[in-house]
Symmetry: C2
Subunit: 280 residues, 2 copies
Amino acid sequence: MSAILINGQSAEHISVLDRGFQYGDGVFETLRVSAGKPCHWAQHMARLSAGCQVLRISMPEPALLLSEAMSLCAGEVAAVLKIIITRGVGKRGYVPPAQAVPTRALSLSPAVVFPQMHYRDGVSVRVCDTRLAGNPTLAGIKHLNRLEQVLARAEWPEGEGSTQVAEGLMLDNNNNVIEGTMSNLFCVQEDEGGPVLKTPLLTHCGVKGITRENIINVAEAAGISVQETTLGLVDLYRSQELFLCNTLIGIWPVRQLEDQHFAVGPMTRRLSQALESLHD
Amino acid sequence: MSAILINGQSAEHISVLDRGFQYGDGVFETLRVSAGKPCHWAQHMARLSAGCQVLRISMPEPALLLSEAMSLCAGEVAAVLKIIITRGVGKRGYVPPAQAVPTRALSLSPAVVFPQMHYRDGVSVRVCDTRLAGNPTLAGIKHLNRLEQVLARAEWPEGEGSTQVAEGLMLDNNNNVIEGTMSNLFCVQEDEGGPVLKTPLLTHCGVKGITRENIINVAEAAGISVQETTLGLVDLYRSQELFLCNTLIGIWPVRQLEDQHFAVGPMTRRLSQALESLHD
């Protein structure tokens, strides 16, 4: 199972002059597909639209994207849908073409099945050497300039079994922890008034994940105090609980960060359940 | 005139699964073509190779690239050759494929003819709002993550005539001037011992241009003192001369930076002549 639609046509290639290829001039979304449908569609469209607005790319009609997505997802029990929107084909040079026609590339990949122990026992996480550079304009959106993530992910080999490192955390140039290479991060800290859920502030770099957003929403709805704030590594080491999230993995408890071990705690369990019961 | 070779074959499209399109996972070179040949080939290959090494992409044989370049350039009096090397096709996810086969895309575009007054009278330059984020690993190489340049170049419209802004300068997050969106920058300052040629240090961001390198070399060979150093806007405003350079433009004197005017000075003239007499 693998299928691609480019501008609505079944195809596997794009123009070498597409500005997505030339400059990474575009945005993307990765969606979980379940029972023939992409999940959390409206939220993904909202982020895609925000990204297009930042780059001043004319966002394709969500209804058009939905009809193309549905045709790819039809009959798929579980899969992954990636949507790439670029500024389209242009002449050589950085000047955005005045009459650009955006390219939309939708591709379906097999569902990824993660080990059950990732959820039950938690995952082992490392701290990457590669830093996330700050750019307030691009912060939050999911654009196609992903070399930092590629370099960070290349820092450790793919492993298997219980010693496997499942994710790497990335810091910014001020030593603030921002996110994982492919995930967002939360920690739980005991405060005077009870446990507080904290997640890095993403005003200078990082991607505002849909699952991150959903976790904040379900936590606040449950009366849990949530803070988007500046967090250093020392803050993580002092936390009671630590977990990672994204659209495909849901929530992974962290059982080990470098040499320090963490228990899979009650807040992580509670939010995992709340997230699963969310309507897609 | 427009021709493209992808992995040695005449083609216009690349796989949508190419990591150049998915992540900007690659490097590129823009070469001036003159009398049927790409200019400064060895220097461009050296930078391409350095970029591939940083990204751990297996660099194609320069002899293979040269034979492909020569077949595209044959009979071209003047043109522009762009060479893109990516990690190649991969599965979804940031992990670099173990058995990646790099993609090479060579494309020829028409030569760009710039107005004669750009060289005679100098150009008008603005200061961009978009900043260059620091990443020491990626600094100097010419990689495919070019959104900062796209955003910066989109800050002003294409103009014509004498009021035209020809280039925008980009600063880093520490307010140091680094380069233009598509060019490197030099300034001339009077020191106790005579005039000194200064250009921004590119250890944290920026692209180490081939023409920048050639200018440094011809200046040093002529006994001119050259410094790669930290420069703020105030240092530029205090300079006697200011000029921009890249492979396609050669040297453009700056006659105006924002509201301040500059004369086209003797050092700029001298280096322009020395550069023109360089063997390609």
